[in-house]
Symmetry: C2
Subunit: 134 residues, 2 copies
């Protein structure tokens, strides 16, 4: 049992990231995840187990279902690691500021899901430029 997995090994798996992104909108049951992401049920359960034991999600029992939702702590670890490299792209400070603006809103407890497009987020850029690669 790899209970000491680093945050990064957890989120390295594409399906797990998909699950996390899905849960970012609202909590979901295993079956809903399975259906929306087109994964088999055992696969979903296995990834959820990894995510749960890693502290990325937690589950609530709802009859025969389990509702999964995000837990924030581990994401902060990623953010903390990233911090040491922030000075390298300090060009986008205002993007961070915009973040603050968006963040101090209310925290919905019910799946009200007021999906507003907010403002355009920072383009991830992807500067596909010079190859290097020897």
């Amino acid at each position: 049992m790899r209970s000491v997995e680093s945050v990064f090994e957890i989120i390295a798996e594409p399906n797990r990231r998909a699950i996390l992104s899905l849960l970012a909108s609202s909590q979901q049951s295993v079956g809903e995840i399975e259906h929306q992401l087109r994964m088999t049920q055992p696969t979903v359960s296995k990834h959820l187990r990894v995510l749960r034991e890693a502290g990325f999600v937690e589950s609530m029992v709802d009859a025969q279902r389990r509702l999964y939702r995000l837990k924030p702590e581990r994401f902060q670890e990623v953010d903390a690691w990233l911090a040491q490299f922030r000075r390298f792209w300090s060009a986008h400070v205002d993007a961070l500021e915009r973040h603050l603006d968006r963040m101090d809103g209310s925290t919905p407890r019910k799946p009200a899901s007021t999906k507003k497009k907010a403002r355009k987020t920072t383009r991830p850029n992807h500067g596909r430029d010079k190859g290097e690669t020897k």
Copy 2:
């Protein structure tokens, strides 16, 4: 050749993260990395190759040495991914603010709106649950 590796698979490897952290302080030659991180030379070279082809680092030739240094683009991708989860740890907004404060010294002209915004510390719950796990 896995040229289409996701950012996350790259940083999932502990040694690679160590190399990146080391390069965050300043550029280094392969031998310096090898010595400081106590890794064998082929291991360092192999990881550097992965990092280089993934766009995390670039190398300069210095006589027989190669000096490696960070490239910022890919880190931004991680940050962009993380963005969708930021609202979950809004409790620590002021930590982000501190970030801004530290950063705008080294950043080009940005008239910079006043960073002091009324914060409300909306505790998004996420408090005490731990149990679960089956």
